[in-house]
């Protein structure tokens, strides 16, 4: 279980304007300003939940994660992870958590991942039998094959990420902090990693905290979403709730076939009666329709207009977030 109460993290950053004079001046005197990376964030996460952190760049997601992992001391506020205070970094807690940072690697660069695994086994004091069993399970789930015996620098980004995940899970942690784990990976690999994380979460009842820029990661993996912007929490709940709250209208898309003889065509006027036209891509049209009007609109489309490939969807998450952050930014 993870609890954050009014968590704050402020940084002092050195500011230097460009130019020669300023460069020389900064030799002798530096000016600092305070950056409020996390400014009062509270939430409670139960064991076994999968939670996604969303927010624009610089919102404070990674900083929050680092505070929870014990890498940073909070400026004020409380955090507990599995009953421990993270920044005290007790060995017991460290053996239960893991942090995977998509942008930084823990694998030894010049050596095969198997050497890093050996190191981690020694570091976490994992009994031989348990280690072998875990490694076998991870190798199968992640389809590592003989990747672990090639020097890390020879692996592709996707292969490295898989080995990275294995390294992070060898000690069977029960809390996973994943910071942009799929960054830079192709779609197939992203899907593979999502599937793996879900499967690990289900097998071991491990709590998963995920930050990602890829909406698909969060949507596919996390039933609960926490939205952070400029260091403050602006939404905490499930995806459907977020969507409904921000934009209750549905998206109806369809493909136009030849209009029925005698019936109205799919011209702009007709469409406007049904809802707001969002996109018109050749014969594929997307409308924005209020939820209560759905039955009549759908009836109209299927009956009178005889469209094909009808789809009714929630608005895309990107639009929601753009709307949300647009709201906050004013």
């Amino acid at each position: 279980m993870i609890v954050a109460k009014d968590l704050k993290k402020h940084f002092k950053v050195h500011k230097r304007p460009p130019g020669f004079g300023a460069a020389v001046k900064s030799l002798f005197h530096r000016t600092y300003e305070t950056v409020k990376a996390v400014d009062g964030v509270s939430f409670t996460i139960e064991r076994g939940e999968r939670v996604g952190f969303l927010g624009p760049n610089g919102a404070g997601k990674t900083t929050t994660l680092k505070v929870l992992a014990g890498l940073l001391h909070p400026t004020s506020g409380d955090a507990t992870v599995e009953g421990f205070v993270p920044f005290q970094r007790s060995p017991e807690l460290l053996s239960k958590i893991t942090l995977v940072m998509g942008q930084k690697s823990q694998l030894i660069w010049d050596l095969p991942p198997s050497e890093t695994y050996a190191m981690n086994r020694a570091v976490f004091d994992v009994p031989r039998a348990q280690f072998d069993a875990t490694l076998k399970e991870l190798t199968e789930l992640l389809e590592l094959g003989d990747l672990v015996d090639k020097p890390t620098r020879q692996l592709s980004l996707g292969e490295r990420m898989k080995c990275e995940l294995a390294a992070a899970l060898l000690h069977q942690p029960t809390t996973l902090f994943l910071d942009e784990p799929t960054i830079g990976l192709d779609v197939a690999m992203q899907v593979a990693i999502r599937d793996f994380v879900r499967s690990y979460n289900q097998r071991h009842s491990a709590t998963v905290l995920l930050t990602s820029h890829y909406m698909d990661d969060v949507v596919a993996l996390c039933p609960r979403i926490i939205v952070i912007d400029r260091g403050t929490l602006i939404h905490d709940g499930d995806l459907r709730g977020l969507v409904k709250q921000m934009d209750p209208d549905k998206r109806v898309s369809f493909t136009v076939t030849t209009p029925l003889p005698g019936g109205p065509g799919c011209d702009d006027e007709t469409l406007a009666k049904l809802g707001t036209v969002l996109a018109k891509d050749g014969k594929r049209i997307t409308l924005r329709v209020q939820e209560r009007e759905l039955p009549s609109v759908v009836g109209e489309l299927l009956g009178t207009l005889a469209v094909a490939d009808l789809a009714i969807e929630d608005p895309p998450l990107e639009d929601i977030l753009r709307k949300m952050f647009g709201k906050v930014h004013k």
Binding site: K12, K66, H73, P91, L94, M101, K104, A122, V123
Partner: protein
């Protein structure tokens, strides 16, 4: 404790494997060790070609100091420096965070992260020099002197390590400090001379402020039988104090890193 030994053993195995990977290393390191020894000896040879004695130190006794210097440098470049370079790199790339996430003392983990096994050649050179020095002297040290000499060598290595930790801690605060090991090497260079040979002010600095000369001169004196018991004890005490201070500085550095990093 056993965990740390196992960790060090794994690191040693990894470093040996890396070192063996390039067969050319063997030759290069042998050549470097010989060249380095020759360079170290040259000023001595020049000096003692003209003078028989400098401030009470004749050639054989100066050679003993030189031998200790060479041996300690082998330890520095073989056991201590490689890990420092590794640490600085980890801090730069951000993967130092992962060290903090392991349930192992961070200082222990970074101190044992890499070795240069080939420096054993330099160590052998130091021992050869030592034997030659005593041969020239015409007498061998007593077992007690040997014991004290070895003990102080270890103390010297530990003091060197403590200084290294303090420098590594500095890189946390200052940011990029890739050439740290060159600094340590440059400071350490002063240890090749018996400290008495240096003039007053330097003698003071290198005995009490940055005790490099102490690491080489005093152990040499122990082996030569000219070290007072009180000085020996003071050296050991000083080493211990240095280790404590370095630990405190390291912990302060970690505290600073985890409050200011992003």
């Amino acid at each position: 404790m056993r965990k740390y030994l196992r960790l060090a053993a794994i690191q040693l195995r990894i470093s040996l494997a890396s070192a063996m990977a390039y067969r050319a290393n063997f030759l290069i390191e042998g050549v470097m060790a010989t060249a380095s020894l020759g360079l170290t000896l040259l000023p001595l040879i020049v000096l003692y070609g003209v003078r028989a004695d400098v401030n009470g130190w004749d050639l054989p006794s100066a050679l003993v100091v030189m031998a200790y210097f060479t041996g300690l440098r082998a330890v520095l470049e073989g056991l201590i420096s490689p890990s420092l370079v590794d640490l600085v790199e980890r801090i730069r790339s951000g993967s130092f965070d992962y060290v903090l996430l392991k349930p192992v003392d961070a200082q222990a983990m970074v101190s044992a992260s890499r070795y240069e096994p080939w420096k054993v050649f330099d160590l052998l050179g130091a021992i050869a020099l030592l034997i030659y020095a005593f041969y020239k002297r015409g007498s061998a040290p007593s077992p007690a002197e040997i014991g004290l000499g070895m003990g102080l060598f270890v103390a010297g290595a530990l003091a060197m390590y403590a200084l290294w930790i303090v420098c590594a801690a500095a890189s946390f605060w200052v940011g990029r400090l890739d050439n740290l090991m060159y600094l340590l090497g440059a400071i350490f260079d002063t240890g090749r001379w018996p400290v008495m040979v240096l003039p007053g002010a330097w003698r003071f600095i290198f005995t009490f402020v940055i005790p490099i000369a102490v690491m080489t001169t005093f152990p040499a004196m122990a082996l030569l039988g000219t070290l007072k018991a009180t000085t020996a004890l003071a050296t050991i005490g000083g080493t211990f104090a240095l280790l404590v201070v370095s630990r405190l500085v390291w912990r302060a550095a970690i505290r600073s890193y985890t409050s200011a990093s992003s």
